[in-house]
Symmetry: C2
């Protein structure tokens, strides 16, 4: 409070104890709200602390107790509204339990992710929420788990690991997307995602426990139902950067026999795809149909309004946080928030050019 404390170090428990004329232990108990303290001592200590502008040193506290009050969150792309909103859910939930959030952005880069986990572990965070950029490479998460650090996975699961994973089941919605497009006569359906995969996608490629697997799988199922064959070369993965995304669009739109419909794996992809479509002077849905995952406000305001699959991103964030807190021994509401995705039909899907429905 007072202005004079210039280069002065922060007041410590010892300072407060001295000022209050009690032992260090007793002052600590009063300040930390534990143990047994008489009314008298309490009030003296508290006012002494106020006087000195005492602020408990969390670092020291965490060190001695071994309990940290921060949790680590690792995401691939914080710019993406999906993660922004999820982060908000996480943040809201953990704060109620007294934790703060240490955030690391990885640019969907595995090396960066490994480093981030390492770093957070060194910072001794109480636990981790990770949206892994790969659902197959998970040695670093495994290692974290080995060292008894709680980790909760977000969006993508890791095969073979019994880690809590928060993700919505897209099987049903994805099937609906496939049917919607097929019913409209589309056969050349493109799919674009930023999921990192080594090999180009083909039938049988293991997409891991990612939502992308669900979503691509749904379309495959719809094709099977319709007795048609899906040209797997229309599935473009690894579109994490703007350049890669542009390349994927080019491949889909500029080839002979171009895609007549494109499914966008998230809103960032949708934004890019729409831009590319516009640049080419194509009209939606007359020339090309579009479906996007994630229902953010802007999707309803573009012309035409986008047909999307909505998912409760904020609640997913909260759930991830709750799962973590639960593991950490906190009491949190037992019932799980319903995490359902559903198709929202608007106006960006039309009959395929040249199809009987057209």
């Amino acid at each position: 409070m007072t202005k004079r404390e210039q280069g002065v170090r922060e007041a410590t428990v010892a300072d407060v104890a001295r000022a209050a004329g009690v032992s260090k232990a007793q002052a600590a108990r009063a300040l930390g709200g534990y143990g047994a303290v008489s009314e008298q001592v309490l009030s003296v200590v508290v006012s002494a602390a106020e006087e000195l502008g005492y602020r408990p040193n969390q670092l020291a506290r965490s060190m001695t107790t071994g309990r940290s009050n921060s949790i680590g969150v690792v995401v691939g792309d914080i710019e993406n509204a999906h993660f922004g909103l999820a982060l908000r859910g996480i943040s809201d939930e953990v704060r109620e339990a007294g934790y703060t959030v240490v955030l690391v952005n990885t640019d969907e880069d595995l090396t960066a992710e490994v480093g981030a986990v390492q770093e957070l572990l060194q910072q001794r965070v109480a636990g981790l929420i990770v949206a892994p950029c790969s659902s197959t490479e998970a040695a670093h998460l495994e290692s974290a788990h080995d060292h008894n650090r709680t980790v909760v996975l977000f969006d993508r699961g890791v095969r073979g690991w019994a880690l809590d994973t928060v993700r919505v089941d897209f099987a049903e919605a994805a099937l609906q997307v496939g049917r919607l497009l097929l019913d409209a006569g589309h056969r050349r359906i493109g799919y674009i995602s930023s999921l990192r995969v080594e090999e180009p996608y083909e039938q049988g490629t293991d997409l891991g426990l990612s939502p992308v697997a669900d979503r691509v799988g749904g379309i495959e199922r719809a094709f099977r139902e319709a007795g048609a064959e899906w040209d797997r070369s229309l599935v473009k993965l690894n579109a994490a950067s703007d350049d890669a995304l542009a390349a994927a669009c080019a491949d889909l739109l500029d080839r002979p026999g171009p895609a007549t419909a494109v499914v966008c794996s998230d809103s960032r992809i949708a934004l890019g795809v729409l831009g590319q479509i516009k640049r080419r002077g194509l009209r939606v849905p007359q020339d090309i149909s579009v479906v996007a995952y994630d229902d953010f406000p802007w999707t309803e305001l573009v012309e035409p309004p986008l047909t999307v699959v909505s998912q409760p991103v904020y609640d997913m964030g909260r759930e991830a946080a709750r799962a973590l807190l639960r593991r950490l021994g906190h009491r949190v509401p037992a019932e799980q928030l319903p995490l359902r995705a559903h198709l929202v039909e608007r106006a960006s899907v039309g009959p395929a050019a040249g199809s009987p429905a057209a």
Copy 2:
């Protein structure tokens, strides 16, 4: 690495030292990369550390050195793409210097902000980047500064405090916005912002060192140039929540003599306003003109494409981080990134209904 370490505590410097057969100090030096260590000792220690799966305890390290490797970032609304992007800039920049980011979202609530700053200070972050929700109430920032904690302000400044502040100068762009609208015949120009202010806005209201002050000021100046008078009741502040935003829109659009143009202070506001306009069946720009601050991808994809004022948000984040790092004694590029806002004219501004220009 090995699976057996179940409930085992993490290896410490002492463990490594013992395993390597050297003193604790020597092991610490080898592991910490400071002091003088012989090749021999180094390699023995390193391999012992590897063997034991040693991970330095940052908490302990920070405690003894007094240097923390995390910085605190306090924003009002992480969902807002503006902050998402800025956060990315901050994160990218500080990581290069070896810091992690502790993020707190405040919901544009002053009490929450005060608590957040307090909390971060207790966590002994090396410094703070704050996008203050009020540019007049700043006792908590003042106090942080008093306790020799470096704080850098983002977007909004605080009058009377010599704190580093990163913000772009909107004077010119705002004037252009005013002229653009006035030239198109608009006189009933609405302005909506989430800035927290006690009183309703009127001439002479102190908006502090906020961009809102610049932006409203620019419009005022344009009015003065044109020898016209601006109805201050068209300036709606405190539109932080969806409800408040809806109410502001209602007041602007449903009154007798409604606004013929609306300027949106950020992209979240723009999204809300566009939604309200659509709900009312109004057309842009025939019935109402719209200008928004922040040029995000979606603004170009709506119909009509939005006339916006763009600002280099990512670079602003980087600059904020650099300012902080500089204060913390790090070497960062001396030249400042140019932080300029500029008007991007697209198609959401048209002649005011009933104006000579119409």
